[in-house]
């Protein structure tokens, strides 16, 4: 399970946690999110996310 960070606003998508309040269950891989999924904080596309170094 990885974490991904939006390079525009710093929002973190944690695969282990998902976003249950938005219908994305815990354990959902970033790659499995829909292609038109956008950052919930700033609305940037998936391409604005980078794997996060812990």
């Amino acid at each position: 399970m990885k974490k991904w960070i939006c390079v525009i606003c710093g929002h973190i998508y944690d695969e282990a946690v998902g976003m249950p309040e938005s219908g994305i269950p815990a354990g959902t891989r970033f790659d499995s999110l829909p292609a038109d999924w956008t950052c919930p904080e700033c609305g940037s596309p998936k391409s604005a996310f980078e794997p996060m170094a812990e």
Binding site: V7, I8, C9, G10, C42, G43, S44, S47, A48, E50
Partner: protein
């Protein structure tokens, strides 16, 4: 209300003028909501004949426009922008601007954001948090146990630019110099100011740019540039980009430029409007004291509620664009009226009610899309530290004379700036009660 021109310049174009929206009028500055509601209801997209720009006002349209990269924040794309200078005539301001977030292509913008990300990482920000905490404490120590104080002069003027100064490593004895630099940087890019005033402000920024170039050179000369904000920018490497793996001097200057435009002058209003919002809604102030875990949400909600901007955000059409039934021509300016959008009843239930527990999903308080506010973290840290300290020292505070003797800086170029907000600390009454 119908279009105000009997013969529109462009067939089918919805037009308004200063009779519908005059951001400089005192009535608007005091009470903008009726104007915003008219704009959103009757003119969600309209050409403003006096301001010579489009005004886009609803939440849905502002959100859509901010996420559409055909609308650029690059002032050079404006039809009335001064002509490009010859390479030999460019100064540090021009070069930093050209390399900056507001001027580069979307792909280059993403590269810049990736390279600057480490400077905004948790360890770097943790150090900044400590420095700003000291600054906030110093401001409250200066207030001491006064029965009454003015939020604007005691807090709002002092905290924002100095916070950025500390973030970028400016020594304390040069903070006034930095503050002047910050104001001039902002005024240099405001298209609502006369060209001469913009030029004078731009010339006045040059000593500030020289100062930071020297600091960058010092860092580059060290074996390790340092772990602070400036050092993180100097040392940043994008391993996936072999050709352009590091930030050059002007790119680093452009980050400082962006921080200033996003987070110094505008954050002055953060402090006044946070306290104005909470103290004029005592039930919400009481709720925050009971539930400090609402702090993050409360800060965003107070900004939404206060909606302190006067002029909209600027964007410029990089091509002819059909937008919401109107044709926006290449080079035309667009005022993205997010201040109105923050009060859009189509997005927010009872938008003029302050509710610090409100769900704020999808808000555009810090913008949206590729140019989402880079100073967000700093703004939230400043707001949290200030409010926490205020509640700790003055838990029974209220507005002096019920209104705070509120006054505005009517001629401010950008904001509905509150420049007087008096607060009663009620410390004596508290002691008596104890």
């Amino acid at each position: 209300m119908t279009a105000t021109s009997p013969a529109p310049a462009t067939a089918g174009r919805v037009e308004i003028d200063a009779r519908v929206f005059n951001p400089y009028s005192k009535d608007f500055i005091r009470n903008p909501d009726p104007v915003w509601q008219t704009l959103m209801r009757d003119y969600p997209v309209a050409w403003h004949k006096d301001l010579q720009m489009w005004i886009v006002s609803s939440h849905e349209l502002c959100d859509r426009l901010l996420k559409d990269n055909r609308f650029t924040p690059n002032f050079r794309a404006w039809e009335f922008a001064p002509p490009p200078k010859a390479e030999a005539d460019k100064n540090d301001f021009d070069r930093a601007f050209e390399k900056g977030f507001f001027a580069v292509s979307p792909a280059e913008h993403l590269r810049l954001r990736k390279l600057t990300m480490p400077a905004f990482s948790r360890p770097v920000m943790g150090k900044i948090d400590e420095k700003i905490r000291d600054l906030v404490t110093e401001c409250f120590d200066a207030i001491g146990e006064a029965a009454e104080f003015d939020v604007y002069s005691a807090l709002a003027v002092k905290i924002p630019a100095r916070s950025i100064a500390r973030m970028v490593g400016v020594p304390i004895d040069m903070e006034d110099f930095f503050h002047e630099f910050a104001v001039d940087v902002i005024k240099s890019t405001r298209i609502n100011l006369p060209a001469k005033e913009r030029e004078a402000s731009m010339q006045a920024t040059l000593p500030g740019f020289k100062y930071f170039r020297d600091r960058i050179a010092e860092r580059r000369a060290r074996p390790h540039p340092g772990d602070d904000f400036l050092g993180s920018l100097v040392g940043a490497v994008d391993a996936s980009n072999e050709g352009d793996a590091r930030l050059d001097d002007y790119e680093i200057l452009s980050v400082i430029f962006a921080l200033i435009t996003a987070g110094s002058d505008t954050a002055t209003d953060l402090h006044t409007y946070l306290l104005y919002a909470l103290l004029s809604n005592p039930d919400q102030f009481a709720l925050l004291k009971r539930k400090p875990e609402l702090m993050e949400n409360a800060i965003v909600e107070c900004l939404r509620w206060g909606s302190f901007g006067k002029m909209p955000f600027f964007r410029f059409a990089s091509e002819d664009i059909e937008f919401a039934g109107q044709t926006i021509r290449k080079g035309q300016a667009i005022g993205v009226n997010v201040q109105a959008a923050w009060h859009d009843p189509a997005k927010w239930d009872d938008p003029t009610r302050l509710d610090i527990a409100r769900r704020l999903d999808g808000n555009i308080v810090f913008g949206a899309g590729a140019h989402f506010c880079i100073g967000t973290y700093l703004v939230r840290v400043q707001g949290r530290l200030m409010l926490t300290e205020f509640m700790r020292r003055f838990p029974d505070a209220d507005l002096a004379n019920g209104t705070g003797d509120l006054d505005y800086e009517w001629t401010h170029h950008n904001a509905r700036r509150i420049n007087r907000l008096k607060v009663r600390t009620n410390l004596k009454a508290r002691r008596r009660a104890a």
